[in-house]
Symmetry: C2
Subunit: 407 residues, 2 copies
């Protein structure tokens, strides 16, 4: 057999494997959406129940605002970008969720009818609110949603870059001025969201996007040997557990945010750095050699983390890893990244799926047993599974030839 023929056959086989994954992922996306459509809609007040048991029973009717915003975003995005989800039931639920958020805004958690239960003194509820409003505008064409999104974005940028005092955090003498990587990550995500096919806003936020990327890159520490979750604002390692904290799934998520940034910038050198530091490095340190799966937290000096759940396997780091490796492969063609996608995807589909009731389990023990049977809770909604499936579905086979759509 000639070398050319063998190469063509290998490529054909690869294409078939990827096509099979595309179908699997697409089926999972359908099952996940069906689960949330069936169980999560609050017909009375709008918005979504997210505390759902394995079977989909509502075990608490509190409304966590992160998850409200994410589900609105997800529904609109599916409606806009997949023919089979372009139906009014999905759009109407998204609109009802959006109106609920518009009325009651951005505490951390609300009662079913919208009264605030708990506030967090961070930017994240507002960030998911902004993503929801921007997508609603794109899905419906109603300008008032976009006005909300842009005004809230200005507020968030003000808090992050000018004056955080409006968030109401106490100023304490011993508290380090730490930057959690989540902050520039979230902002970079918003820059991409608002700038999509919108030259004016893309231009407005160009400098902000560059700033976010620089700040995320500052989290690569110790001569490039570790991505640390928290660093000082001028990019130095902080002392103690806070400074040594690592979260491999979060680093991988930052990785694909940065890959998208590199694509917009057309910067292959930065892309190679990102693949090295935010994809390969966290995977090497974070993958459990004994039982498979990504650890939730690690300590850069190999002390035992103090988070009780540090060794548990959560659904979302695996979703982020699948997106990151597929996007990395799609951009670079490096087969190592494709192999890592397969490794993560095989573990993920084997361990997290619930063949009986649909959707995915969110929390496994270190050994891979289901530790919590809930399908949704204070931090798990449709987003983590839906975005992962959507992100992969839209990047499989076509991803080999076309540029992937925005996250």
């Amino acid at each position: 057999m000639s070398n050319g023929l063998r190469a063509r056959q290998d490529m054909e086989k690869e294409r078939e494997t990827l096509q099979a994954w595309k179908e699997r992922v697409g089926q999972e996306l359908d099952r996940v959406v069906a689960f949330w459509m069936e169980h999560s809609h609050d017909q009375e007040h709008g918005g979504f129940f997210t505390c759902l048991s394995r079977e989909g029973r509502v075990y608490d009717d509190l409304k966590y605002v992160w998850l409200q915003g994410r589900q609105v975003w997800m529904y609109c995005r599916l409606y806009r970008t997949f023919q089979r989800f372009h139906h009014s039931q999905l759009l109407n639920a998204a609109k009802a969720g959006g109106e609920f958020l518009l009325r009651y805004k951005c505490a951390f958690v609300l009662t079913r009818d919208g009264r605030p239960v708990k506030v967090q003194r961070t930017i994240f509820s507002e960030c998911f609110y902004t993503m929801a409003m921007n997508e609603l505008w794109r899905a419906t064409g109603e300008v008032r949603y976009q006005t909300e999104a842009v005004e809230m974005m200005d507020q968030i940028v003000h808090w992050v870059r000018e004056d955080a005092s409006g968030l109401g955090r106490p100023q304490l003498q011993g508290a380090p001025t730490a930057e959690p990587m989540a902050v520039p990550m979230m902002l970079l995500n918003l820059v991409e969201q608002l700038g999509e096919a919108d030259e004016e806003l893309a231009g407005k936020y160009t400098e902000l996007g560059d700033w976010c990327a620089r700040r995320i890159l500052q989290h690569v520490q110790r001569d490039g040997q570790a991505v640390l979750e928290n660093v000082s604002e001028d990019g130095k390692e902080l002392s103690g557990c806070l400074g040594r904290q690592q979260n491999p799934g979060h680093a991988l998520e930052a990785g694909w945010f940065l890959l998208r940034h590199c694509i917009r910038k057309g910067d292959p050198e930065l892309r190679a750095h990102v693949v090295d530091k935010f994809l390969l490095l966290p995977f090497r340190s974070g993958w459990d050699p004994d039982h498979g799966g990504l650890f939730y937290f690690q300590d850069a000096d190999d002390f035992c983390p103090t988070q009780l759940e540090w060794a548990m396997k959560l659904w979302w780091p695996h979703s982020e890893a699948m997106i990151a490796f597929l996007m990395g492969y799609s951009e670079s063609g490096d087969p190592v990244l494709l192999r890592l996608f397969y490794q993560v995807a095989e573990y993920t589909f084997r361990q997290f799926r619930d063949p009986e009731y649909g959707e995915w389990f969110g929390y496994l023990s270190r050994e891979g047993k289901v530790a919590l049977s809930i399908k949704g809770g204070p931090f798990k909604g449709e987003w983590g599974t839906g975005r992962g499936r959507r992100g992969c579905a839209s990047r499989l086979p076509p991803a080999l030839t076309t540029c992937p759509p925005p996250p």
Copy 2:
């Protein structure tokens, strides 16, 4: 063999078993105290390092105020009540810890040199401060410590019973006025602490102690079938996860606080109720039939709890259970309670001990494997193991004939 002879032989055997436990517990107490003496003292600033690895290495030098107060209390208590701990090294370390607390007071966590890092808008740092100051007064005779204790107690009672606004919690329209059981528990503990051999203060706090006991008893819900962690202030079940939350180890701890209250009151009827609802009931629901050990959290309707660590086995619920069952047996003579003490103690000594480096592991998986190898952290100090060992040591054999000392 006559019945009388057999009964005497059984009693003799029981006494031997208890004597063996007393020795085991005493040895563990020695090892625990030695571990903290060797690794935790901050010779430069006073106070204690509590973030200690398996071997005793300091992996973070933050000072969690709960643990500072508790260690001062523990050292003074040991100094006062055990001949072998009546030495100046222990007292001097307690005094240095007390002076550290006096200087920097009651944030939730301080830097090594006392600058506040984080505040909690609750009463607990102040409660442990009060316990520390009162014990320091008892151990040293220096009145200024007692003045501090009594003034802080007045402040705490004001927050709990008159006006909580000084704690700075935001007033949110949707937040239920929930009472965590920890609040009346903690206050009842302080009533006993301050009233010990002090007729004037015991009199001052009599009404408060009765109020605390009534409030704790309100947490027995569902026709006496469940102890719920959070109820409304007028003793009704709250909706959702918050309302259904159970913590078997915490209920057992409340149980022995209430038993002490019954002893002071001379109320055998209440004692029987407490044994039934706060000892037997939480043990029946909370003991893992498959792997042994007490679950950390449960849901009264058997939904899966949302706490990722719900099925883990923590050291402290087992310490509390050992004290509770031994105290219950000591008061009632009911052999069922003695059997339960043995059951818990056997699990606890088998699973939590670290024969290699001393002290105890704090966090096991559901199956009983060590999940975190740390010996101390943000919430685990010398208290949980030390108080457990001390509480049991002082209740074994003598407990069969004499009234146990205060907790």
